[in-house]
Subunit: 397 residues, 2 copies
């Protein structure tokens, strides 16, 4: 009998974004093409300056970078934040291996084993696993589709705060709901952080992707909260460079950044090639985002229009990121998702998506859709969803 | 007053390999060149096939790889292990972000918060921080320079085993001592793992770097221990590609690998570029290692010869990896290391090294030397050490 693992080993959840991959492989092996709406992997091109760094790489050795980050990239990050309105010292920025590592470092810096972090639900499910790695308990603040996934009133949030609560964490614009926090909502969270002595962790990797009026408000702009805001950031979505694995964390709390640096030293270096590529995008300016956001706005409109016209589907108009939630007329959206991969095809295609909820029993009929594909593929994917729902409901009668 | 951090935030140690960097920067700003013997950053070239992958990269998008790893690289890893004598299934290999992540995943999979792991000391100090991240306690098994850093008798190790001990971890060939475990030592550890129900974690990133007779014996070769061996590996040193951040973990324990995959899903992907580069080295064969090992053997001989001739320095002949330990005729080797950076130069140069011990009071006079520089630089570094010691001892009386 194999040596048993630790208790926690069995509790780390499989990613709902990725756990159905074997079924997708099965579909492919039967000749069925799969539209991947399950993962935020954009099909847009990584900008040319990044790729040029690779093509022209002339160092003899792919060496470690300094643990905080390559100087040229740290400078580029400080310049990027200056352009969006924030004057930072280099010491207030730590380069990380994707946004994921920024989240882990933040959890480890601000909380002890057994502490709690409040997160509006549905949330990016890897938050849960990363919290478990750090020994933290995620306490969900449930938001509902009927209410467009807006935050509940302060009292609703406040009653979840205990003496172990160390932080409130938001994703703004939100993966998976596509909502963008209003000034009011952000002020509400800032007030709680101030009054109750909490950190506010703001995952802003989708910062530029806003399709409504105005902009996503960075938590870095909150006055008087400088010592308790930590921002998680990444180039993965901003520049369609997910595989570069380059993120960063930003805070004006010197102790947080000092701890992050010591954690960074323990893993030596973030990927050097990705940092050099990311640094090269410094002077691309905002035109790049104009075109990118326009493309995602078009996709959002297609998905919203299609979803709204499928009988029994409840959706809302997402205003940020590149995700939307949809409530389906099925009892178990995950069973439906599996069935689409194992038993369904339409003109040789099927569609894959993910389910996102931490609280058992909540959102069993809700899915997240990542609108990261070009128009024709998105329309094909929506046709699969529409037809798939029809057949599945006939079958399950 | 800033919001206080968690207790543990203050306990994560600064890396002894990297914490003196600000002093090295200070030396450079005074025009003093620093020989870096503090970090295992080889100056050898990254092999051409890796660099060609960058130069010819023609995908439109630097996309996520699958969480387990790029298929082409997983295949290359299975082939690499086949060449060194081990028949593995793809499911027994997990690509990681450097060896560091492999260590963290292993700790998280096999142990619970508060559990203990035995590690021969002096050990690679980042083991300590990674153990703290996973909530584990490192229990050192002290080895001594007088005894060439060999393992103590079984009884010495056994008396450190408690009901919280989950694993014995070794680095073989060893960073920092340069020792290579004998068959006897490995059998002793295997016996303990078998009898006491422990995992054996073997960090084998220096596997090819052996200068004595014979080879480093992989823990994968231990019969009847298949379910409790986890091997940590990396291309950083093997192919002088530290900044690629590509490592892997290998185990025939399916539950361990299943847990590792779930942890990998939570961080989505290892760096895609590094994996493609690493995969391209598949067909380089062993000639590459012959030349590399010959180069390091030469360097080892230079360092050993020089160290042996410095009055008061106690050293031993390291037979593997590219490190050696040296006991210096000073009370506080770290103070000496600082002084070399702040107050010393010889012909416009100085030298930097690191101190490695977890147990307070142990090894205060011992340093680790990484012989990762070419001959002329190594000789210059040794001259600085010799002259520096002379002056420092005059000063300190």
């Amino acid at each position: 009998m194999p040596l048993p693992l630790s208790d926690r080993a069995h509790r780390f959840p499989a990613s709902p974004i990725r756990k159905l991959y074997p079924l997708a492989e099965g579909a492919r092996s039967r000749g069925v093409q799969v539209y991947h709406l399950n993962i935020g992997q954009p099909d847009l091109e990584t900008p040319a300056p990044f790729l040029e760094v690779l093509h022209k790489f002339d160092r003899a050795n792919v060496a470690y970078s300094p643990s905080q980050g390559e100087k040229v990239y740290l400078d580029a990050l400080v310049e990027y934040y200056r352009q969006i309105g924030f004057q930072l010292e280099t010491s207030q920025v730590q380069v990380t291996v994707g946004g994921s590592e920024a989240i882990l470092f933040t959890f480890l810096a601000i909380a002890s084993h057994g502490d709690e972090v409040l997160i509006p639900e549905p949330f990016y499910t890897n938050y849960q696993t990363l919290a478990m790695v750090a020994g933290l308990q995620v306490v969900p603040i449930t938001t509902r589709p009927e209410n467009n996934y807006r935050l509940p009133a302060a009292a609703e949030i406040e009653k979840r705060i205990t003496n172990r609560t160390r932080a409130i964490m938001v994703c703004n614009p939100s993966n998976p709901t596509g909502t963008v926090l209003t000034r009011q909502e952000l002020d509400l969270l800032a007030g709680l952080a101030r009054e109750r002595g909490l950190f506010l962790i703001s995952d802003e990797v989708y910062r530029e992707f806003v399709y409504g009026e105005g902009e996503a408000i960075s938590a870095l702009s909150l006055k008087g909260l400088e010592d308790r805001v930590v921002v998680v950031d990444s180039i993965s979505k901003r520049y369609s460079a997910c595989g570069a694995r380059i993120g960063c964390m930003v805070s004006r709390n010197a102790e947080v950044m000092d701890c992050a640096l010591r954690l960074a030293q323990a893993r030596l270096s973030a990927p050097t090639l990705g940092q050099l590529g990311a640094a090269a995008m410094r002077d691309m300016g905002t035109r790049y985002f104009d075109a990118t956001v326009e493309e995602y706005r078009k996709r959002r409109n297609i998905v919203h229009e299609e979803l709204s016209s499928i009988p029994g589907v409840l959706t809302h108009l997402p205003v940020g990121a590149f995700y939307t939630m949809a409530r389906l007329p099925v009892a178990d959206a995950e069973d439906f998702a599996r069935w689409l991969l194992t038993d369904f095809s339409l003109d040789g295609h099927t569609v894959m998506f993910a389910r996102f909820y931490a609280t058992a029993g909540l959102g069993n009929d809700e899915i997240r859709i990542a609108y990261v594909l070009k128009e024709s593929d998105l329309r094909g994917a929506m046709a699969c969803l529409r037809k798939g729902l029809e057949r599945y409901r006939e079958l399950k009668g």
